[in-house]
Amino acid sequence: MVAFYLIGAISSVILNKKDRICSYFSFFSAAAGALIGAIFSISVIFGETFYLTLSQDSYLKFGFFVDKLSAFFILVISISVFAVSIFSTGYVKEYFGKKNIGHLGFLYNIFILSMIFVVCANNAIMFLIVWELMSVISFFLVVYEHEKPETRKAGFIYIVMTHIGTGFILLSFMIFAGTSGSFSFETFNPAGLTMTPLLKDLAFIFAFIGFGAKAGIVPLHIWLPYAHPAAPSNVSALMSGVMIKTAIFMMIRISFDFLGASGSWWGYIVLAVGTISAILGILYAVVEPDMKKMLAFSSIENIGIILIGLGASMIFFASGKPIISAIAAIAALYHLLNHSVFKGLLFMGAGSILYSTHTKNIEELGGIIKKMPLSAILILIGVLSISAMPPFSGFVSEWLTFQSLLLSFNLNNNFAIIMLSISAAFLALTGALAAYCFLKFFGMVFLALPRSEHARNAKEVNIPMLVGMGIFALLSILLGILPVYVLPVLDRIAASFIGTSAFSQSISVGTFGMISIPSSQGISISTPVLLAMLLILMLIPAIILLINRRAQPIYETWGCGQPISTARNEYSANAFSKPVQMWFKSLYRPARETEATYSSPYLKESFKFESKIEQVFEQYLYNPVVDFVMVKSRKAKLIQTGSIHAYLGYIFGILIILFMFVIAGGS
């Protein structure tokens, strides 16, 4: 597996002159590597853990440790890499003339390789090296088109935020290493249990902030909406589909494996942060005109949902209900899998729209369904599954998360019930807003009349891109219809880190692929039957429509009389999300600039309307800190005055101080 990625990387460097061949070569080897990765991970999930240590006697020991949890993540990585690689062979054609493809291919393969290493590192030093390697390589990928100034800004914010994250991770590893004496992860586990509660809490908090910065939880999320849109689409599909998940992977490993999730209030923090990220993520997504930025915000939202699942499972685990905690963990893992599938699909969709219309702004698009019918259907599937519509994959994981939240009544402490119910309400609000946001996305981009030249001459994308998207679309339907096969796999993984398998006692798989949680009384769902029902019932309206065929004359849309053929009085994306803007005015603080030019005092010639949403977090959290540092360092610069006399004065001063220090110390 590793070999394939390496071949991909090296080949793309060698052949970087001849674009076409090298792009095929590098991306196909990546796809092949993904296939083997998938097989390898399934074998580990059903087989036993896999150890390989190629350590030398010297200071740096490199070893691999692949248990069920990391195998699951390798599976997730491999699936998305497989589809995205096929997609990128087509997508990369856009860069043929302009950019160096070998460069992209090389970075792409190393990026995947580093992600896989991150997931199966077995000691802290190697983990940190590979973790930062992943961020550095993804930084290069983000800055691939570095002509545009905003890509540079995005790259810079991204690399600095990940570096701060690594700083926190380093701190938490230090605490572990302090108690366990050595840096390998095996010793972290016993160390985790023996630590004093304060140290345990500190280690958890640092790890949570560190990995949260990478996962993009709310206070630390500002880099995500910059970095993902700046990267080429196939890379951003991978980044938000998979890279963020590696942070979740480490969070699970640290909180469950190392610290045994014993701190009771940890679960509440994770839950609260998850809920806030979900809400704020989607709120910003709804009002975002830029396609890829909207998808980046919605990744923050989905990370929030995964964290809600994780938080609930930690709460249950801490209050001694392993079975329900296993269910909640399964819900989180399932949503993680689904998210990497449909988010990958949507990013690829956005990429193909960008490929054919060369613009990311929804306001300028419209009516593309007539020009790109195939990708429209695929993206529709993606949109339906992300807004958790029944027969699709999003629904199952959302249903599971809701059920795990609803199961809280088994807990006897009331605070948990209230907290979980509030987060359930917020989860519902996020779900609805997600539907709202993606409806706006699909409606504005694909339906009605094209609003700009770009949209008018959009053309269908080439085959590999469609195939890539097709794979993911098929997967999201399958994941939606056949959760029955996925759940036992997830349960085995959840059992690996929670200890009890939820499957044996509670979730049983009945006929027709029904999942029921009889731990209480018969909560059950079976999507295959639901879909079957939908299809059968389809007949009734079909019959009504077909009985006596009637003519269907085509005529102008109804515009209260005057003909409206232009796209000007269509509902624009901004208008569509206006109600939400009004309702959340305090959060967005919308700024409006209107500019009107008058041909004569009465006749308004043109009217330009500009509304901007204020990035609250950036304004009030990050800029003050940066300004403070700048002001302080500007003052500090005065030390270097340039006059030699001042410098001699410094030496004289320090001499006197030390002298006093000695005399005080000495006598």
Partner: protein, 314 residues
């Protein structure tokens, strides 16, 4: 098993227009006018089925698919809701959350179709509908939470069975609170007066109507029927979760079923009338005051949970 499904379908499709006819009749009565006959909706639908349907130029396949999908989604939800018998043959296929998400699917497609025509009415209707939906869902979820807390499961058949088993002492404080919350949500879901005015085509007040403005002929018939069925289902939800007395429990004889159907029809009519009374007595609220209405229902369901904890927690 299949017979039971078809029978349930038949009841739903038959009763839906009757219910809206009765409600129109009651509203007319309150507005001291004679108003159309109770069976008027049936005639409307039959008339529409004979008409041509005019389709706008810049429309894609979604416009044609949307009515079918939304009608089917609502019907599927119908099969999951206990109308007259708790042991539904397809009961295991979905629970309360599945029903809500089926309604969401229906709403999603109608809103999508509204955008397709490219007219500003459709866009406005779609955006307002989704806006209200995003307000309704948290309140809805919390009320389900309240109900599920008491019963322990969200499976509809199971809920109505346990509540009917409880007999009269089911009417405890949190049940009532949950009912009122659900009632307010029902108004929003079915597009009744304080939230949306079903009867008019005036841009200011119409939300649901605006979305289906473009439809005509057979497609309009399907959409109208779908809306009526949705209304019926929501009311039957209200009826069978909170006052399921008289619903036939599993394995009961034919007689019990007939009795159950009769009781069900009466209950639905009572709720219809109360809804009509509410409609005529209140004026339509401004769109941006609706969040207040929704937060009332949110608070109510939250109180229901707290009440439940106090009662059960002790």
């Amino acid at each position: 098993m299949i017979a039971q499904i078809i029978f349930q379908l038949f009841i739903i499709i038959a009763l839906a227009p009757l219910l809206s006819g009765i409600m129109k009749k009651v509203k007319a009565f309150f507005q001291i006018r004679k108003g159309p006959g109770v069976l008027q909706p049936y005639y409307d639908i039959l008339k529409l089925l004979q008409k041509d349907s005019v389709v706008s130029t810049n429309v894609s396949w979604i416009f044609h698919a949307a009515p079918i999908v939304s009608f089917v989604a609502v019907l599927a939800a119908g099969l999951l809701i206990p109308i007259y018998i708790t042991q539904l043959s397809l009961g295991f296929a979905g629970d309360l959350i599945a029903v809500i998400y089926l309604f969401a699917l229906a709403r999603f497609f109608t809103a999508l179709a509204s955008l397709d025509a490219g007219s500003s009415f459709g866009g406005m209707g779609g955006s307002r509908e989704m806006f209200i939906a995003s307000l309704v869902e948290p309140a809805l979820m919390l009320s389900i939470f309240a109900v599920a807390l008491n019963v322990g499961s969200t499976n509809l058949g199971f809920i109505s069975q346990t509540v009917s088993g409880l007999g009269f002492d089911a009417v405890s404080p949190y049940q009532i609170l949950a009912f009122v919350a659900l009632f307010i949500i029902a108004i929003a879901e079915t597009g009744r007066i304080p939230v949306d005015n079903p009867a008019t085509h005036l841009e200011l007040t119409m939300i649901h109507e605006a979305m289906i403005l473009e439809y005509s002929g057979k497609q309009l018939a399907i959409v109208e029927l779908g809306a009526m069925i949705k209304q019926l289902l929501i009311y039957s939800l209200l009826a069978n979760i909170f006052f399921p007395w008289g619903i036939a429990t599993g394995g009961a004889g034919a007689l019990a079923m007939v009795f159950a159907i009769l009781v069900y029809v009466i209950k639905i009519i009572i709720i219809g009338i109360t809804m009509a009374v509410v409609e005529t007595s209140t004026a339509k609220w401004r769109l941006f005051r609706l969040p207040e209405l929704m937060s009332i229902s949110l608070m109510l369901s939250f109180l229901a949970i707290v009440a439940f904890i106090i009662v059960k927690g002790g």
